[in-house]
């Protein structure tokens, strides 16, 4: 039943690198301690052909720039204390995700688009929470669907009160899909809108405006047109002033991440991603430098974007996105961290000691987000701790994030894993647990024991401590790994995605994990259902002369 128009094969791979001087859809202006990010989507510059981004509607390309802006703000403008997001159009703030784009996209593109935009919204919330940059959405006009979801990701929402501009989540009544960027969850969970009112709101295509929007807690502030700019600036000032002064911070320019593309390979300074689409596998190799590098924060500042730890995580982040968006046929990724585990632990000691420095702090939080992106990637990951690897400290997280961690335990080879201080809470997963806690969900005492005696863990002990899924000796290693890899890569990618999403996140939930787990699962189900995407489905009919026809049987 599903109508799938494959994205044009001729389309070039998505490049996730951009910078403010190359933005097509946003304007970033920093004035002292207040940054203003203005949405001004160029209708003609969709990332794929076939649709126009009218009325500040967005596609993946628009969100890539938003993510870049949020990231650069942290590093390049650390003196900023308040971010205002507003729109450049008259009467419209943002119309949400572009419907034509969704209609013409194949399923995987829709899913990855939603996932990426969700991550960007969470990063925006993390900007407030982890980086102390207060966020204000200044809605200068109609705010629909994804536009309102973007606003929901800000701490405060100011809506223009012109008796016309409404906030709305019209997806259910208009398109028979869900708001795909956490809207439903954030309305009741974050803004604590009463659930019956939320029910009314989410089924009312025209949305809610003015006083009612305020009464229902859908927005925090109203301002008439004539005082809108003034009120926006006043709130921005108030928010900025609620954060201690940070004007002494000197930004670190991020520049462009460098890599080289070859056949079946992308090579970064500290990372190599290689793939074999026929085998449906990829290898992610992460390389530590020989020396741990900075001893003092000043040295990290001086190194800037060339600080290996930052550069490495930027590369991993890019590699994960490349895998997701540009390499859909890859089913299984093997991960190796190559280097000296002592370097990893020594560097972690530096991070721990100087986490009070804003740059160190930001870099650790960035690593946290990259690791979360790995947890949320719809690929199987097998970590391979064989000779010359260094799954230690921060880099143990790659092993813990993987679905399985195979360790080479052989008298002829020295293989060490390592537990460090940062494994104890600096890299939480989206559901709030550390990867150690998630791994030993039934045995919290093991977590405590591991953290009590940080340091290197020999391969033999790794098995005993439960860090290894299986320890193999040299005789078995190559054959066994080959069989495991081939077996895994042969299974249904859909079933594996669902299975992994269940197994990776035992235990509690947070709003963030609810957004990813609950909402994306439902959304991805609805995205497959004829009522949305069938020939007579609402998403297919929207904007055409035809009305949708639903199959009214509930499942």
């Amino acid at each position: 039943m599903t109508v799938e128009t494959p994205s044009p094969t001729a389309a070039p791979p998505v490049d996730f690198r951009t910078s403010p001087d190359r933005y097509r859809h946003w304007r970033l202006a920093v004035d002292g301690d207040v940054a203003r990010l203005t949405m001004a989507v160029d209708p003609k510059q969709g990332i794929r052909p076939g649709y126009e981004l009218k009325l500040n509607s967005y596609d993946l390309g628009v969100d890539v720039e938003l993510a870049d802006a949020v990231q650069r703000l942290r590093f390049e403008h650390p003196g900023v204390r308040c971010l205002v997001i507003d729109g450049a159009l008259d009467k419209v703030f943002c119309a949400g995700a572009n419907i034509q784009m969704l209609r013409q996209s194949e399923h995987g593109w829709k899913v990855n688009f939603c996932k990426y935009t969700n991550e960007t919204r969470v990063y925006l919330e993390d900007l407030a929470e982890a980086s102390g940059v207060r966020t204000l959405a200044a809605l200068n006009g109609a705010t629909a669907g994804g536009g309102y979801e973007l606003a929901l990701a800000c701490e405060r929402i100011l809506l223009i009160d012109d008796s016309q501009s409404a906030v709305s989540l019209p997806e259910v009544p208009l398109l028979a899909v869900l708001p795909g960027t956490g809207g439903l969850t954030r309305v009741v969970d974050k803004r604590k809108v009463r659930r019956d009112l939320a029910d009314v709101f989410c089924t009312l295509a025209e949305g809610v405006r003015g006083k009612k929007a305020l009464q229902w807690r859908l927005v925090d502030h109203l301002a008439p047109s004539s005082r809108f700019a003034e009120e926006r600036d006043r709130l921005a000032r108030e928010l900025a002033d609620s954060v201690p002064d940070r004007s002494d911070r000197v930004g670190v320019p991020l520049g462009d991440l460098a890599f080289e593309d070859g056949a079946g390979r992308r090579t970064y300074r500290y990372v190599t991603l290689s793939w074999d689409e026929d085998a449906r596998t990829a290898e992610l190799e992460v390389r530590l430098p020989d020396e741990a590098g900075p001893k003092l924060p000043e040295e990290a500042h001086a190194a800037g974007r060339d600080w290996w730890f930052l550069d490495l995580f930027r590369a991993v982040d890019d590699a994960l996105l490349h895998l997701r968006i540009n390499l859909p046929c890859v089913n299984l990724v093997t991960v190796r961290v190559v280097g000296d585990p002592r370097v990893a632990l020594e560097h972690d000691r530096f991070l721990t000691e100087y986490r009070g420095d804003w740059f160190v702090h930001e870099v650790v939080h960035f690593a946290k987000r990259v690791l979360k992106r790995m947890d949320l990637s719809a690929k199987s990951f097998f970590a391979l701790a064989d000779a010359g690897t260094a799954f230690a400290g921060t880099f143990l997280e790659f092993g813990l994030a993987a679905d399985r961690l195979y360790v080479l335990d052989d008298p002829d080879e020295e293989v060490f894993l390592g537990v460090g201080l940062l494994n104890g809470g600096d890299y939480p997963m989206s559901h709030g647990l550390t990867r150690l806690e998630a791994r030993f969900y039934g045995e919290p005492e093991r977590v405590a024991r591991l953290l009590e005696s940080p340091g290197l863990v020999p391969a033999s002990a790794a098995d005993e401590l439960g860090l290894a899924t299986e320890a193999l000796d040299l005789i078995d290693w190559e054959d066994q790994i080959r069989v495991y890899v081939e077996e895994r890569a042969s299974m249904s990618p859909d079933a594996l995605t669902g299975m992994e999403a269940n197994l990776r996140f035992p235990g509690p939930e947070t709003m963030e994990s609810r957004i990813f787990g609950r909402l994306t699962a439902w959304q991805n189900w609805i995205f497959q259902r004829p009522n949305a995407v069938g020939a007579e489905g609402a998403l297919q009919c929207y904007g055409t002369p035809r009305r949708p026809a639903f199959d009214y049987r509930r499942t």
């Binding site: 012109d162 008796s163 016309q164 009544p173 055409t544 002369p545 009305r547």
Partner: protein, 471 residues
């Protein structure tokens, strides 16, 4: 608050006297309406008696009942065309099914939106015109202004009736907001941009009643086909009144044209301005301004809302039942010119998505008749000038051509050229000031201002020097 005597105060054919729910809604709304009229209606003429027509029934002899009345005491009535037996939904996916007597839940929000948007224009125009009474060129024109005003007020009542009767609490809230928005107020603007444009002079008023009220006519024609029967019946009756407004506009501009032609004949070698008339090229610029603004009222050339409204049977095409055979309009298409990369490109669009444009094209044809009428006046005076409608691409703020620039013939021009030549195509501030300077009141019986010719006939068979307004 005094109790309303429904049968005499509010002439109606909706059995208001026995509809408790409606009475209760109107009890709240009616005082607010009168307050709005007092504050925003024609300024300073509350106590004057005006020779007005009042609709007292929908019978042929009942809809135009003439007599002197003070405007605040005008009997704003609620009238629907009599119900047709066994009426069917005339178009869309439900064509042929029985028309709806109550709001279908599925389309409640869309219908409310349609009605509110239409309703909002009615008080808006009254607000736009509220100061014109002070500069009327004659008692005859003053009376026509007031007639238009009270009937726009009645049209508001008609729409509010639908909101009160069929849309419950939301409808009542929307009805209240109709009295809270204010034309031209940046904080509480009227919904459509044209209805926030100031109407500073009688020339603007005539242009407005010619071109903007004609948009109203076409919107009403499209709604008169609605499968929601009360909306169809209400708008059909409104159309009978709208005709007079269009008459005021077309003949009003025509009389200005005539006066200029007369002056040009008497003084062939001088600028008509020297003799207090409005030059023809300046009238052409006013036409450019108002027509382009009104072209925006139809919305975007390609519209999913238009398609949805048609598919659902809410808003049809003008003369749907009379003019068309295929009332589903699902397989037809229309060619629309898009402007891409500096070039006009023809594109076939499914007809349902192009219905805004279809209605606009019919409107433009109807406008042309008025233009022809003015040109015939010029012919009569042997004046070598021809009024023309601007190309629909000219000076647009909404739709496919918004953001690009075109000359009045529709040729693409650069933004710079448009700005440089703006004064050739649209009235300049000085020209507007000149027209404003002509706006001196002439309120003696039988007299008229020098920039406009008297009408051929008076109202309701009365002579021109009749006392249309008792001052």
């Amino acid at each position: 608050m005094t109790k309303i005597d429904y049968s005499s105060k509010i002439p109606n054919n909706v059995d208001l006297a026995s509809d408790k729910r409606l009475q209760r809604a109107l009890e709240r709304w009616q005082p607010a309406y009168l307050e709005w009229w007092h504050e925003m209606g024609p300024s300073d003429f509350d106590s004057n008696e005006v020779y007005l027509r009042t609709a007292v029934s929908v019978e042929p002899d009942g809809w135009a009942h003439f007599g002197y009345v003070r405007m605040p005491e005008y009997r704003w009535g609620i009238f629907l065309e009599p119900k047709e037996a066994d009426r069917r939904i005339p178009f869309g996916d439900f064509a042929g099914q029985p028309a709806w007597d109550e709001v279908p839940g599925e389309y409640r929000a869309d219908l409310r939106r349609i009605i509110v948007t239409q309703a909002d224009t009615e008080p808006a125009s009254v607000e736009q015109q509220r100061l014109l009474g002070h500069t009327a060129p004659s008692l005859y024109d003053l009376r026509n202004l007031f007639q238009v005003n009270v009937e726009e007020g009645r049209h508001l009542w008609a729409m509010v009736y639908l909101l009160h009767r069929y849309f419950g609490k939301d409808g009542r809230e929307e009805a209240e907001e109709l009295l809270e928005r204010r034309s031209g107020n940046p904080d509480r603007p009227r919904i459509l941009t044209t209805f926030n444009e100031p109407i500073e002079t009688w020339l603007d008023f005539f242009m407005f009643t010619m071109f903007t009220d004609r948009d109203g006519k076409f919107q009403l024609l499209a709604l008169a086909e609605s499968g929601f029967d009360p909306l169809a019946r209400t708008t059909r009756f409104m159309l009978t009144e709208e005709a007079h407004h269009l008459f005021v506009g077309q003949t009003g501009v025509g009389r200005v044209v005539q006066r200029t032609a007369e002056v040009m004949r008497e003084h062939p070698d001088s600028d008509p301005r020297e003799h207090g008339a409005i030059p023809l090229p300046l009238l052409q610029k006013y036409i450019h301004f108002w027509v382009s603004s009104c072209n925006d009222l139809y919305g975007s050339e390609v519209s999913s809302n238009a398609a949805n409204y048609f598919a659902a049977g809410l808003k049809g095409r003008a003369y749907e039942e009379k003019k068309y055979e295929d009332h589903r309009a699902l397989d037809e298409s229309m060619v629309i010119e898009k402007f891409e990369d500096g070039r006009l490109v023809s594109e076939e669009v499914p007809l349902r998505n192009a219905l805004n444009e279809l209605l606009r094209r019919e409107y433009i044809q109807d406008n042309q008749k008025g233009i022809d009428y003015w040109n015939r006046i010029l012919d009569k005076y042997d004046v070598d000038f021809e009024f023309r409608l601007p190309n629909p691409r000219f000076n647009r703020k909404i739709g496919l051509y918004a953001g690009s620039h075109f000359d009045p013939d529709g040729n693409p021009v650069s933004r710079d050229e448009f700005e440089r030549r703006r004064g050739e195509w649209l009235p300049t501030a000085e020209e507007r000031d000149y027209v404003k300077s002509l706006m001196q009141p002439v309120l003696e019986r039988g007299k008229i201002a020098g920039w406009i010719a008297p009408p051929k006939k008076g109202i309701n068979g009365q002579p021109f020097d009749f006392e249309y307004v008792r001052l």
